[in-house]
Symmetry: C2
Subunit: 223 residues, 2 copies
Amino acid sequence: MSQEIFLYWGSGSTPCWRIQLVLEEKNLQYEQKLLSFEKQEHKSEEIMKLNSRGQLPTFKIGDLVINESIAACLYLEDNFKTQGTCLIPKESQPSILQRTFEALNLQKFCNENIVYYVWRTPIEKQDGSLLIQKKKDLNVELERWENYLAEQKTEFIASSQFSMADVIFFPQLAFCVRMGYPLESKCPKLFKYYETLRKRSSIEKSWPPHWKNTQNSTMLSDC
Amino acid sequence: MSQEIFLYWGSGSTPCWRIQLVLEEKNLQYEQKLLSFEKQEHKSEEIMKLNSRGQLPTFKIGDLVINESIAACLYLEDNFKTQGTCLIPKESQPSILQRTFEALNLQKFCNENIVYYVWRTPIEKQDGSLLIQKKKDLNVELERWENYLAEQKTEFIASSQFSMADVIFFPQLAFCVRMGYPLESKCPKLFKYYETLRKRSSIEKSWPPHWKNTQNSTMLSDC
């Protein structure tokens, strides 16, 4: 298979990062264009003609457009199964699939419940007691994953090897840290996982560029 | 492969319905237990020991527990590929994967934005202008799918055959109708799709039992 691969992405977007990780793990050559959410470049004509939702990632492989990030990841895994890292090996398929989709809960508890709420709600309209409850929910969710690592006794989130579950889970965990979550003190096993994986080549190469030279948020620091 | 399959489910839950559809399409024998959300049976000890989130579906195949509905559907498809309906045929794989995950937007715009908000917010605390906006967003989302059917000129939502995309999309569309969405007048192509598919054997067999003898809601009737 030799097809041109093109990824439009935004820095810090976990769905974009998922596709980057699969491309890197599979050693695939690809063209990419980093767009700015702030400048609304994801709503540009260039994007809209490939992705009528005006969202990033926007992803092309040959003549195919697959913009849904998990769809793109599963497509790449299935079509480049034996190239680079096999991300859903048959022997661990059930636990990898389970954790891959279960990881979307972290997106809900962190991004949708808290981060987007804070970003989109004027501070005088924010419900403080609701936010406290949402932060408790996030603690419960992360504690659950902390326990998974303890019970499984594996280095990675679903099995003894880096898998599709890490592709989905790691960027979301890193986003929690970026938003100020005190991972080291609250979830030592997850923190060790985070520290180990951030040095992994695919992750280092695709680390959100604007995270490198700006400070983390403090939004979740009181969790 | 001969393994005991067991599904715990709740009537009207679209994630449960997805797994039922795959089991029916694959002609798989399975045991099932219908639990009541109202009676909190999804938080019972029987469930909690298989599913620490206390959620339905709770799904067992042999010794494996795969509770995330899409994970279970993908697992069944991959392990029973040639049995019954092939739900992700290779030739349509990209469009099926894209639409499968894109369909989760409908869940967001209908369930999370509107239905759960109304169910969980005391009527005096509901924000009327916000609800009007959310209903507009739902209209835009459904119009998008109406256009997909028009552009693709296919009977099904992602290809010329019933696929995994229909497994995810149809129950969600049926839930919109159940909640009172005026599908016939607003989205004639989607209505035709709905009317055709509701007679499909797998869908008829798994139709939520409590929907058969109770009236639809009117929550979305003014969309």
